[in-house]
Symmetry: C2
Amino acid sequence: MPKVDLDIEEVVLVFKLFGDRTRLAIMKLLETKQCCVCELTEAFDMSQPAISQHLRKLRDAKLVAEERRGQWVYYEINKQSDCYPLVQEVLDYIPAQTLLLEKMENARGC
Amino acid sequence: MPKVDLDIEEVVLVFKLFGDRTRLAIMKLLETKQCCVCELTEAFDMSQPAISQHLRKLRDAKLVAEERRGQWVYYEINKQSDCYPLVQEVLDYIPAQTLLLEKMENARGC
DNA sequence: TCATGATATAAGCATTTAATTATAAAATGA
DNA sequence: TCATTTTATAATTAAATGCTTATATCATGA
């Protein structure tokens, strides 16, 4: 029995976004805590623009929300999204990204 | 609390595959019934090789299994896959593809 | 064995994607 | 105001993707 019945196009978009390792890991990290762009940039061996562009795609799809605090922009999972129930369940299948979390913690320089 | 903990790369692959409307709809159809390639080709306005190539990708990822019966090859969801619990839950969020099912039924010419 | 129908594979091509580097914009604090 | 830090955007490029057409493979039945 179906749970929410989203439009199939909406679901395709979610999966397109989740079909990238970086974005999927970002979502898993955001499940644990709000993160600012520079923290995420530390976690992944990737440039800041790359991270920003991933976040933009996730934001365009309303899967994440942003909140500016001074110079920092914090991202969090958007629990208001129609797709949130799906997102939440999906993330349950992924192991906690402890290595990435540690890299974020250790790199306290932003 | 996690349900199965798949490798994140496995999940990324599933979503890469599900991030395409045709493949996602194929999986939803296969949830209802086994389908042969020509049936699926009727359902989608797309060439037979296009469908075959999608099925190949799904098969390479072991998300579907094939069974030959005479000249026909029937595909079905592979319930033995590690990812099957995830697949099953995810498909629950998608509306039944009744239009496609009807096109398959009406086009009984293969 | 040969023609037919179903499926798979190969090659080619246009589009999309995900990264990079360079630059702009916004906030902070001296 | 100006330098610094954080983030966003733009332009470019290489690789991946999804389709098409053409062709090969496989099973069937005359």
